[in-house]
Symmetry: C2
Subunit: 715 residues, 2 copies
């Protein structure tokens, strides 16, 4: 496997910047200043056509004048100048570049052509590059900041790959205020060469990165994305926000980086398949990423809540419960230890609610230690360890009464041993999340943040952060995702499909479709094609009465309501009647499919559709009349291993129908999952199939049987 | 109608405080200081048993020593002293009190008795009081602050009734940082006398209050809550957070204020019935409340998005779309006006994405004005109008290059005409929400906030805020909620139920249940009770073959899987067979119900259960086998008007089944809604019925028919 291109790109020994000048309000200048001022120790070369010095450093008129081929070149120049300068770097042997400049694919035809030129130059010279239309990178490990804003220099363990550059520039002060620090951050831009999957792969291997967050507007190689993520997620949490799923979101994304978005439900399924935890906002992405990057992994569901007031305790408990955690009542022994530390009317049960209480040492150190030593929980949330922030809110009132005590002295009253308070996760190897209505202006909040304890500004967020840790516990507990190699094409199936296409068919008829299914091991109804009444009766006797009769021709895709289908035909005589009636309704000598009636109360659907970037994707859902009304479906990209197919089954809301249910036996899950896997296999082996729709799959006893099937062929 | 007790309580001309001293770290002292320091102009009397002066004011040894009966008394004393002091205030004629002290109902039996004493004293003296176990009140209109923290003095238009006191004290600095200001805030505590519904009613009438937020752990008088809210919500938005719905949440709430919580699904339905917008966190409650309190009402769904970068534009668009808004592409005319103001590669379509751009005047004034003048949208979100916050993030890098320009002078570079930028909602009567990663440290963020424009710290929150405005547009567009007076009890139904109870029945048999239903106008299957085979055949002929036969006895509540039911009986002979077979299975001469078979593919369920505080509540959902598997149900409290019942129908996920569906006609919605209304009526008229379960209600053609019914009686 070739070395990941990010390795050298994020760790250059020398950097050249084209587009920096001595004008402080230019983007290139700001980026060069960030390199110079934020502590990068490598060699730095400004390239400028006219200036002799830039930012106090000797400037070079062109890449060809540089004293060495820099490890990394950054281009922040008008679009028109990008290609020649890029070419010059390629010529001198520079192997990594970042093209900040916009005006490429996202602007239309001419921009696409220009972007292709960059790709061609890169391909022929071995250059790998980020962008165009991006914002730069951050690697705190070597104090390298190539964005426009100042960077928090202390390295963190959270790394970010983003299809929006803003989220790595406008957000830097916001992150600092929230105590969140990057290890690496990469703005991916138009992904003409290096894409977000390359970045993901690199971060998966990077030892300084403990959690990865992704901001995604569209993925172009779904298969590689899934397989890359699946290698990482059982060990390292990956979180993602996806915002391309609505029409307006897709249009905005397209105009932004030219990314092709896919539907909401598809990304939802793909993230689950990949083991990626989905976040619903950029705030949540950062916040939960920070929780994963700083806290020990969660090992169970039991949460302790310690608070100085009721509302936040209730809100944390309620939201933790909704997120799958439990808030167990503490044992009498543990409560007996806690009680002497709290007021008589306060609660020791869990949540421990101290009520209004000024001793944060008890709230944030003494009681948490008792709880975590007990072994009764797997994690803890603390609300209300407020210090100077709270005191500031009362100081204007009490100043005189407190003998005009200086503000700072007054604040010392609520001091907390931060080493002990923030040392809990390391000491007990259990996660701690704090919530407080006081931000960094509060010494305790700042103290926690500076010691890598997440502090959220509302109690619900603490609970949601814990729930996110629980999601990764579930992903770690997943069965391994294993896939068998793709079997060979079945010659009869291939022949049948090619013959249908040659005959001008745009679909298979039901009998053909079922034949293909059964060649790949999918159980279908027993059935036969009758060209006359005698045949019909013979087939009915073979499959067993009662039977169904259906007009069977590829151009009749929807049969109901037109007299082209008869169900529950009880007798031979009735079979003959049905045969005649259907031919009369069809108005021609259509072949008639005679089919066993499968009895079963539970019906499901399986299907396949192809999506740009993802290839064939498999659908599973509630079948029959409910498919449309409830839209209770799950999606995954093919091929599917057994684990992935079984997870699809469990991913519908009506999953209770799959278990023992009102006297019915549990569905044979491996058999049903096998159908989903086989649908994916068929789609991969036969690219001429555009869509598959198996609806209903009836559960006969515990055994799934496909009762109707539609294959649409590519025009 | 008596005057709402909050009127006098929130607007006292004189206040006495018991529990304030000269110790600045006591809660009572802090609360007295808040009254004294935050600008209250009324008369203030400290009551203290020993001190001669408290906080520089002459102190009185007991309420009886006061020079007048104060309009309002506040008690912040140890639990044991509360009752005698409270009694003394009642004696001198004080009519309003706030009991801050805890240690009452929330602590158990003794506390409950103590709380009852307060209620009794109040009842006999005409005293009305808040608490016990609360935090106080804020009324910015008269600069009255009775909490422990300093208050932002400029009045806002948002009012809050909270079952958590913390949310009115710990949050005050947080609210200030977010530019959110109260009109009134009331901590409800244990609600021994005045409850949150009284507060809601008062705020509904209060002209200074434009939006109301509620933090709820449990409602004790559901009926009054719904009716009070229904009067307010068509005009004034009411938002609520409910956190009692999980086991841990309920336990936490109980230990906190002794509130009785109800299940999640119940509150979800009740809020919809009441027209209350539900929020999922305290942050959202404040934030959306602030949007409603400051922005003009939304009049349509069309949203404009203006941004300086792609990610936030995409995120706002995506989330607005998910919230029911549209982000329409602008007309060519409008785009042609916008284009000259933006870079060539920037997008004018909507979102307008200026890309990296330093001229906030164009972003936040010029382009929004063009858009809003066009009439093409109903609201606007702006992201990226950053000023000094952004400049602070680059200043350390550019300082030298900018000739060591002083920080403040440097910040003036990105100045924005805030009067124009924040004047948009007033000028165009359309809502504006801003998002920025920069908080109050940014002059533009602060400028917006100080002019009542909500600024949220992530783009998604701006979209969610807009969606909240849309929720209130939908509530304003609701059909009026009208209820007919409760009809009289049907004597036969009453007789039947009383006779069943007298006979020791704990349920009605199906025939009895259907009889009660049909007496109240609910359509049921045609059927009759057969005591012998001949009767059975006679009934079958009357209702029409095929029929169903069921063992019919109140103690046989679940018939399936036991041979006690036969369906689709096609012939008279088969009716006789079924009669014998069921009697054999029952092992006794059980009466047999002979019933028409109703044909229909769609099945629903209606039901009734009683919940503490809410009385009988009606359920509607997907019926048959899916009731249990999908749990797709909606709840409302009885009685139901036609609007409320029809809204219940639309409140299930599978609502598509109610319309025209796969060749089936639309369900007769008034008939189905009528069943729900009648179920509520039956429950209200017959309190002896504990539960009702009508499952399935089969849709025959378009007409709902109850095919099975179970009534559980109270033991």
């Amino acid at each position: 496997m070739p070395e990941n291109p990010l390795h050298q790109l994020l760790n250059p020994k020398s950097v050249a910047v084209v587009g920096a000048s001595n004008n402080p309000m230019k983007m290139g200048t700001l980026q060069a200043l960030a390199i110079l001022k934020d502590g990068y120790a490598g060699r730095f070369y400004p390239v400028h056509p006219t200036e002799k010095t830039v930012l106090g450093r000797p400037a070079y008129a062109s890449p060809r004048d540089l004293p060495e081929a820099p490890d990394l070149a950054m281009l922040v120049v008008p679009t028109i100048h990008v290609v020649p300068i890029f070419e010059a770097f390629a010529e001198i042997g520079t192997k990594r570049a970042i093209v900040i400049s916009a005006g490429f694919k996202e602007t239309g035809e001419a921009g696409r052509a220009l972007e292709k030129r960059l790709r061609d130059i890169a391909a022929s010279s071995g250059m790998r590059f980020l962008g165009p239309n991006c914002v730069g990178i951050i690697n705190t490990a070597i104090s390298l900041n190539m964005t426009i804003a100042t960077m928090e220099k202390r390295p963190g363990h959270l790394s970010f790959a983003s299809q929006s550059g803003t989220y790595i520039t406008q957000t830097l002060p916001w992150l600092q205020a929230n105590g969140i620090r990057f290890s690496k951050a990469v703005s991916c831009g138009n992904e003409a060469n290096i894409d977000i999957i390359d970045v993901l792969e690199y971060l998966g291997e990077d030892e300084q990165t403990r959690a990865i967050i992704l901001y995604i507007e569209g993925i172009r190689d779904g298969r590689r994305f899934i397989e890359t993520a699946q290698k990482i997620t059982p060990k390292k949490p990956v979180l993602a926000q996806y915002v391309g799923g609505s029409a307006a979101g897709a249009r905005a994304g397209l105009s932004h980086t030219g990314a092709m978005a896919g539907p909401e439900f598809l990304y939802d399924g793909i993230f689950k398949q990949a083991g990626i935890i989905r976040c619903s906002s950029i705030e949540e992405l950062y916040a939960h990423g920070w929780v994963h990057a700083t806290q020990p992994p969660l090992r169970g569901r039991r949460l302790a809540v310690v608070t100085n007031s009721g509302g936040p305790g209730t809100a944390i408990s309620h939201n933790a419960d909704r997120g799958g955690m439990t808030v167990p009542r503490f044992s009498e022994e543990l409560q007996a230890k806690i009680r002497p530390l709290i007021l008589p009317h306060a609660s020791s049960a869990n949540p421990v609610d101290l009520t209004f209480h000024m001793d944060t040492q008890i709230l944030a150190v003494a009681i948490p230690a008792m709880i975590l030593e007990s072994g009764e929980v797997d994690a803890i949330c603390v609300h209300g360890a407020m210090g100077s922030g709270f005191l500031k809110s009362i100081y204007p009132h009490v100043r005189e009464l407190a003998g005009n005590l200086p503000e700072e002295t007054f604040y010392e009253q609520m001091s907390l041993d931060m080493t002990a308070a923030a040392g809990i996760p390391a000491k007990y190897r259990l996660p701690l999340i704090v919530s407080s209505f006081f931000g960094r202006e509060d010494n305790n909040t700042a103290g926690y943040m500076d010691r890598d304890i997440p502090v959220f500004n509302s109690p619900e967020k603490a609970a949601w952060g814990m729930a996110s840790l629980l999601r990764h516990l579930e992903i770690r507990d997943r069965k391994p995702v294993e896939r068998a190699p793709l079997p060979p094409e079945h010659p009869e199936a291939g022949g049948l499909i090619r013959a249908a296409l040659a005959a001008g068919q745009t679909a298979l008829d039901e009998f053909q479709a079922k034949r293909v299914l059964s060649l790949y091991g999918i159980p279908v109804t027993r059935e036969g094609i009758a060209e006359n009444e005698a045949d019909a009766v013979k087939i009915a006797d073979r499959v067993g009465l009662p039977v169904a009769a259906k007009a069977c021709a590829w151009e009749i895709m929807h049969k109901s309501g037109k007299g082209l289908i008869a169900l529950n035909i009880p007798t031979e005589e009735a079979v003959r009647d049905a045969f005649r009636a259907i031919r009369a309704a069809a108005g021609r000598e259509v072949p008639i499919l005679i089919q066993e009636m499968v009895a079963g109360e539970r019906e499901f659907v399986a299907g396949m559709a192809r999506f740009p970037g993802f290839g064939p994707c498999v659908l599973f859902g509630l079948g029959g009349v409910f498919t449309e009304a409830l839209n209770d479906t799950s999606f995954r990209a093919a091929p599917l291993g057994p684990t992935e197919a079984e997870e699809m089954l469990a991913d519908i809301r009506a999953k209770a129908l799959l278990g023992e249910f009102r006297g019915l036996p549990a569905v044979n899950a491996p058999a049903l999952a096998g159908i989903l896997q086989a649908v994916g296999t068929i789609a991969l082996l036969h690219p001429q199939i555009a869509e598959i729709d198996l609806n209903p799959i009836i559960i006969a006893g515990n055994r799934p049987v496909v009762a109707d099937a539609l294959f649409i062929l590519k025009a």
